[in-house]
Symmetry: C2
């Protein structure tokens, strides 16, 4: 497999990445080929954060009965006509209505029923006289003010009428939406199925998370990183673990009942980079080599209906390729937003940020009170820079970069 004569043959070097696909072309392809499909039912009470697949129509009226909107007394409004502090009108209290415990009496002329906010208005009553307009005496109450028919009372269906669409498809359910759904008696809701994402890490030099680096063997950082990103983006993550740089093992790992396969490492055109060739053989290698920095050796393809992302093994390239392409696909498949879930701020560059026309740059930066400072984008500080960066600046394809002092948009890694 690794005989020197197959190392960087002229053939490999020639096909290499002589042509790299523009980022915009790749994004257009993703936008037009990736969309959510499958729906599943989940308990409404557990549905916060999920994306509705269908509209939700209320099957009931809210309120389902005429109810008090104030604490006070349920009365016939006509009985309070003309009541003031100087024209006290007495009423006989014949019962009370509490939430969930309605009065078992009907209110007649000259009568009142104590009532709490949210409780059912008793039969015969047509209004609530608020407690503030009443003097309570041992055996009766005295109205000190008027009320009018329907006052401080909510009619049946006044908040939500049966048949009203309360939530539209595509809605990412908030905690308060869940509250409304369960209030309406909705037990389960149709939501977009979470995309299943399988993570395949290729590399003979890699040890699993939890190991200590040992000589020339290093610990895989991309697997845990990608798992956390995909979970953030709503995926059900399955980890295939680390496979060696053996074509058959990589093939097996890519063939799985997942919606998305993320392959970390072995994505380029070197001798040990089997994944692109295997994908081209068994499925379709749609893009390989993208006009960006880092991540130019990234690839995208399909294999038996699955989306396959070939992500470079370099941790920063892997992060960038996930952010630019794979993360967007994961979110779209789950019904979520195409856009980055990052907060965007504006800041002033403390140093020149150089790029090249024809290439998109994903430049990691540190943000301080003094401004936005680009971090070394390559070289030996790769690993430490991923923790030092506060976010990134994107330099578009048609730009040579930004001068010192330029105002730039920064996407911040920190989530709320």
């Amino acid at each position: 497999m690794t005989s020197p004569d197959r190392f960087w043959s002229d053939d490999v070097r020639m096909r290499g990445f002589a042509r790299r696909t523009p980022v915009a072309v790749v994004l257009d392809w993703l936008r037009s080929h990736v969309a959510w499909r499958d729906v599943e039912q989940v308990s409404a009470a557990q549905a916060a954060g999920r994306v509705l697949a269908d509209s939700i129509t209320s099957g009931i009226d809210v309120p389902g009965f005429v109810r008090a909107m104030m604490d006070g007394f349920a009365v016939q409004a006509a009985d309070t006509l003309g009541a003031t502090a100087y024209n006290e009108l007495p009423l006989a209290v014949i019962g009370q209505s509490l939430p969930g415990r309605p009065a078992d009496v009907a209110v007649g002329p000259g009568q009142a029923v104590r009532i709490m906010t949210g409780a059912a208005l008793p039969a015969g009553a047509d209004a609530v006289l608020p407690v503030e307009h009443v003097r309570v005496e041992p055996s009766r109450i005295v109205a000190l003010g008027e009320t009018s028919p329907g006052k401080h009372v909510a009619c049946r269906g006044e908040d939500i009428a049966a048949g009203t669409v309360v939530l539209e498809p595509g809605r990412r359910l908030r905690p308060q939406d869940v509250g409304v759904l369960v209030s309406l008696g909705v037990a389960s809701v149709p939501v977009v199925r979470r995309p299943r994402v399988r993570i395949v890490v290729a590399g003979n030099e890699l040890l699993p998370a939890g190991s200590r680096p040992n000589g020339v063997l290093i610990v895989d950082s991309n697997g845990p990183m990608l798992a956390a990103f995909a979970e953030r983006d709503g995926a059900d993550v399955c980890r295939a673990g680390i496979v060696g740089d053996e074509p058959e093992a990589i093939c097996d790992a890519m063939c799985d009942d997942a919606d998305v396969i993320l392959v970390s490492g072995g994505s380029s055109v070197g001798q040990e980079d089997h994944a692109p060739r295997l994908l081209a053989r068994d499925g379709e290698l749609i893009f390989h080599g993208i006009a960006m920095r880092p991540s130019s050796p990234a690839g995208i393809g399909t294999l038996g209906g699955r989306l396959v992302f070939l992500l470079p093994g370099n941790p920063v390239s892997c992060l960038c390729a996930y952010d630019f392409f794979a993360g967007r696909a994961v979110r779209l498949l789950g019904g979520r937003a195409w856009d980055w879930p990052y907060r965007r701020i504006s800041g002033r560059l403390r140093r020149k940020l150089a790029s090249m026309v024809g290439r998109v740059d994903y430049a990691r930066v540190k943000v301080t009170d003094a401004g936005v400072e680009p971090l070394a984008i390559s070289g030996a500080s790769v690993l430490s820079s991923t923790t030092r960066a506060d976010g990134f600046v994107v330099v578009p394809e048609d730009s040579e970069g930004y001068v010192e002092g330029a105002d730039v948009d920064v996407f911040l890694y920190d989530l709320p």
Copy 2:
């Protein structure tokens, strides 16, 4: 329990909320009394989203060995001195070094070892000659350019030296931080323990989520809503379920091994509002009645070291009291941010937003291209308005509100 003569006695009405505590006072109290305490160890690979309780120092050098930063040939740099396309210098290829598969030979004068990025530099070599500066021939390579000692090579510890602090306490771990931690051979990390939040819902009129409303019995929406909010804010949520408006049941439900008790309903000064009295009897009722709208009947206290939040049963008041007070406490206890996890935007008011001096308003609004539209803050549309609102505007205590056309800050409910 519910005899009419105990209903709104003058005593109850007098003590009522004659004095409401300013919001700023409550926030100051929370800020100075709530902080994270407990630490637990979790697997580094699973730690994304958790908050570091201690700094993390690298125990190893990264790289742990001298490694190539480019694909090419490991050589003695002196052998390439003067090489150009017009002064070709041949080198004998004696082996190769791949990631995880180092060469078992030493490079002598006139010799080269094929090497891939990330692979260990073989003994004897002091530089990498990039593949771009080489012509590969069947039995040898020809240097077409120079390299110099140390070029395209990363020294041991150049990225992260053993003993370097890589992450500081208080850091909410990102996916890429997890990658760095596992790379360093860190198997587990000390993180802030998630706060345990117990949710107690009081109300005789309430049915559990999943039920259909039935006559005067309605389905509890606050329990599922609060559970989803507390989970969003990093809590371990335990639901006590629905307890009737019986003092002993409420007492029992409040006595639990949790850090925070959220009591929904029964928080005010009415006859069925037992929670404040019970909290004052068994623990300390620190605030009851807050100068805000909605949520003025909210209360805060302590009970055997637990923080207790008394949240009004009205769904909008409950949401507001969670956002203003309980959510902040949950986040602080988990080492997270005091500030709302909501995105803030600026917009123009389409209608006047009236408030009163001496009271903070939490005004729900709809945001469209046409501007920011306040929704009815009370009345019969309580339930439906929680789904219609896109976010909220806070009117501070010293303001009478905002005129139509004013620019206001909106906090958006949608998370990324």
